[in-house]
């Protein structure tokens, strides 16, 4: 078994930084596309965690399969999200999420 390139805590640290960056991005950006990017950062941080923990499992593969799902599903999600954003833009000539208040009342 090869010695790991990076130790587990290092990877967890990197993932945590990515997660926080993504979360802050989602919380602060008013641009819908920016929020989408933040969401991708958060998801990929979790993917990184899956891969990092994978070697602890008996076959060392469970986490990697989860990571694959974690890549494929956001792709579909991004397609839908972009479609929503495009429609929103078509109707309101903006992608500012703070302007999307019509469903509120």
């Amino acid at each position: 078994m090869q010695h790991p390139v990076a130790s587990l805590p290092t990877i967890l640290l990197i993932a945590a930084i990515m997660f926080v960056c993504g979360a802050v991005c989602m919380a602060t950006k008013r641009n819908a596309v920016g929020i989408l990017i933040g969401a991708e950062l958060v998801l990929n941080a979790s993917n990184l965690n899956f891969v990092a923990f994978a070697y602890l499992t008996p076959f060392g593969i469970d986490g990697q399969v989860f990571a694959l799902f974690g890549i494929v599903l956001p792709a579909a999600e991004a397609a839908i999200a972009l479609a929503i954003i495009l429609n929103f833009y078509n109707n309101h000539m903006t992608v500012d999420v703070d302007r999307a208040t019509e469903l509120k009342d």
């Binding site: 989602m26 950006k29 008013r30 929020i35 999307a100 208040t101």
Partner: protein, 727 residues
């Protein structure tokens, strides 16, 4: 028991029976649209019946060869030998029956009702009695139909004025004519009456019995807008129900003891060596059946309906309430003669005797021409019953047939007078002989016939009854009343019939308006009068009278023939009292040597008693009608005071409870539901505030919540978390 022949003559009679029914159906379907043609349809149907039945009678006489031949010598001898006494008569009569072939009987039947042991067949029986009756009914009915065509003519005009339907002083009622309806009822009546005559079982007789009762009801109430007519129709119907209740009892006794309704089978079972119906029960059965006849034939004490029934049109009075329907009771007694025990026959005889005297005495003082005739009918029916009761089977039925002719004639004559003068009150008439000679002469023939003058039919039939009564009296001297009553009745009959004739047709006109208005009736009305006058004269001819011979030819009914001397003696006595009655009538009403008003002043009590019809109506009013009214008033009070109050109280309680329930529903149930709803709304409203719709805020919530969870897990430690999850 007779010889059974091929049934085709029965089919002939059935066709004659169904013709009036066909006419009824056609008239009911067509209704008013037939107009005057409706009268021709009914007349054609009943005339067809008459022609068929005349052919049938000819066929019958032909087949029972010797029916009209002179009586066979040995039969004569047997009859004379039998005259010595009824005990001796029975074996002799039996020997005569055995010596000759039995009476000719045509019968046919088909199954109708089959329930368990009960088996009822539609059966027809044509023997001497029914063939003769059938001929008489169709003959009289045909003439009366023809007469009605003239008499009811004003029903064709639209609208008909009926001044008697409203209180005096008001304008007359206007209504639509009911010409076709009249003839449809008449057709239905003829069908029912003919069915009654040719039925071979008492069950069918009872059915048609009720059917003729219904027709009588409908025709008495023909002018139903007149209150008196409506009341009279109800009275006739209800009084008949009283008698019919007795008849039903009789039917039940016959059914439970003998198990059959067929006349022949009942006769066979009664004459069997060991009959199942004997003694007191047989007497009760006979009297119960006779009770029905009392109602239908208006005998004492159920006679009260017949005089009131004169509210119907006069042809109805002639056909139903003189010639045919009221004779049905007598006919049934004759048909069922073998059922009656000596006690039952005695009851019949006394009923007839009382009836004939009572009705005759009331007829003395009546002033309404139709009422005189009605009481005379009741009286003559009493004669028939008395004749049957004292053993004169042939005499009673002979009188039935002659009476049908001359009483129909008298009624039609009175109808002609009413038609011509417009009044029924004899004190307003007088001197009408010159105005309406044909009516007067034909009515005189009827009066002579009913009074019992020789060479007129009534003499021979009434003489037969009186001879029979005299013979019975000689046998049983304790029953002298049964001989005295018909003799006195004969004088009374002659008196009041001539009174009617004198008051109507002779003397000076008492009411000039009526006299000026009077005119002879059209030919359509006087032709039937002439046609009925002929049999009223000749129906008693023959030695022995050919009607009596047609009735008794080879009949196995035990006939007790009075000795020849009795006949002559009875004839002389009857003639004597009749002449006395006529003389009295001449003194009072023609020569005016005596005054009836003076007599009334002399005997005010008696006069009032007769004027009030022996106070029968008052008696029934006091004994039956008043208590029923009092009882119903009490019931009404109970109904209003107790039942209604209970119902009202229950309703009020229900309303109170419902009101409280409504309040509870509104306040408590609805309130609880509303409170829950309000809570849900309030909570939802509060929670709604969290939904700001700002995505970035949501993200912040998410992050904060995640951090919160992590902090929670941290504080619990790893074991705490796993324990939390596992639980």
């Amino acid at each position: 028991m007779g010889i059974t022949h091929p049934s085709w003559p029965v089919s002939l009679y059935v066709a004659a029976w169904l013709l009036p029914l066909a006419s009824f159906v056609v008239l009911v379907i067509g209704g008013r649209r037939w107009g005057r043609v409706g009268g021709w349809i009914a007349l054609g149907a009943i005339t067809g019946s008459f022609l068929i039945s005349a052919y049938g009678f000819w066929l019958y006489a032909h087949e029972a060869s010797g029916l009209f031949a002179p009586r066979a010598a040995h039969h004569e001898a047997a009859a004379h030998a039998g005259g010595a006494g009824s005990e001796a008569a029975a074996p002799d009569a039996g020997a005569a029956v055995h010596a000759e072939p039995a009476a000719l009987v045509w019968r046919d039947s088909l199954p109708w009702i089959q329930i368990g042991k009960l088996s009822i067949r539609i059966g027809f029986l044509v023997d001497n009695l029914s063939a003769t009756m059938f001929l008489m009914v169709t003959f009289v009915a045909s003439l009366i139909h023809l007469y009605s065509y003239g008499y009811m003519h004003e029903e064709l005009h639209e609208p008909v004025h009926d001044p008697r339907a409203v209180p005096p002083g008001q304008p007359p009622l206007h209504r639509r004519g009911r010409f076709t309806r009249f003839f449809s009822y008449m057709s239905l009546f003829c069908f029912s009456m003919l069915g009654l005559v040719i039925a071979d079982n008492i069950f069918m007789v009872f059915m048609f019995w009720e059917l003729v009762g219904i027709c009588s009801y409908l025709l008495i109430g023909f002018y139903y807008e007149r209150p008196s007519a409506a009341v009279a129709a109800n009275k006739a119907f209800i009084t008949n129900r009283v008698g019919d209740a007795g008849m039903i009892v009789g039917l039940m006794i016959l059914w439970t003891t003998l198990g059959t309704f067929n006349f022949d089978e009942i006769a066979a079972k009664l004459h069997a060596p060991d009959p199942q119906l004997t003694g007191a029960l047989l007497t009760v059965a006979g009297i119960a059946i006779f009770a029905g006849c009392v109602g239908k034939s208006a005998q004492f004490p159920l006679h009260v309906w017949l005089p009131d029934a004169m509210e119907g049109p006069t042809p109805v009075s002639a056909l139903i309430h003189a010639a045919t329907m009221v004779a049905a009771g007598v006919y049934l007694v004759g048909r069922f003669y073998f059922l009656f025990s000596p006690t039952a026959l005695l009851v019949i005889a006394y009923t007839g005797g009382i009836t004939l005297f009572m009705a005759g005495s009331i007829a003395l003082v009546m002033t309404d021409i139709k009422r005189v005739l009605a009481y005379s009918t009741v009286s003559q029916l009493g004669y028939m019953m008395l004749g049957l009761g004292v053993g004169g089977w042939a005499a009673g039925l002979f009188h039935l047939l002659t009476h049908a002719c001359f009483k129909a004639l008298l009624f039609l004559g009175s109808g002609s007078v009413i038609h011509g003068t417009g009044t029924q009150e004899m004190p307003q008439m007088g001197g009408l002989f010159r105005k309406m000679p044909i009516t007067a002469i034909t009515m005189l023939i009827g009066v002579l016939a009913i009074s019992g003058i020789p060479w007129f039919s009534g003499y021979y039939s009434k003489d037969a009854i009186i001879a029979q009564a005299m013979f019975f009296y000689q046998e049983h001297p304790e029953h002298i009343l049964l001989f005295v009553l018909p003799v006195v009745g004969a004088a009374i009959t002659a008196f009041y019939m001539f009174r009617l004739f004198f008051l109507t047709f002779t003397g000076k006109p008492r009411d000039h308006q009526v006299y000026e208005h009077a005119h002879e009736s059209p030919p359509v009305m006087w032709i039937p009068l002439v046609a009925l006058a002929i049999p009223s004269m000749i129906a008693g001819y023959g030695e022995p009278p050919f009607i009596e011979r047609a009735l008794t030819y080879r009949v196995p009914v035990p006939l007790a023939h009075p000795a020849p001397g009795v006949h002559e003696a009875a004839g002389l006595i009857a003639l004597g009292v009749v002449v006395f009655g006529i003389l009295m009538s001449v003194l009072f009403y023609y020569a005016r040597l005596l005054s009836a008003a003076e007599m009334a002043r002399q005997f005010p009590r008696l006069h009032q008693f007769l004027i009030h019809k022996w106070r029968f109506d008052d008696l029934y009013e006091a004994v039956l009608v008043r208590p029923v009214l009092v009882l119903s008033a009490a019931c009404r009070r109970f109904d209003a005071g107790v039942i209604d109050r209970l119902v009202d109280g229950a309703a009020r309680a229900v309303v109170g409870v419902s009101r409280w329930d409504g309040w509870f529903d509104f306040r408590v149930i609805d309130g609880a539901v509303n409170v829950v709803g309000d809570w849900v709304y309030a909570i939802g409203y509060q929670l709604r505030r969290a939904q700001t719709g700002r995505l970035r805020q949501y993200v912040m919530f998410l992050v904060a919540a995640s951090l919160g969870l992590v902090a929670l897990f941290w504080s619990l430690g790893v074991t705490g978390v796993s324990r939390l999850i596992i639980r």
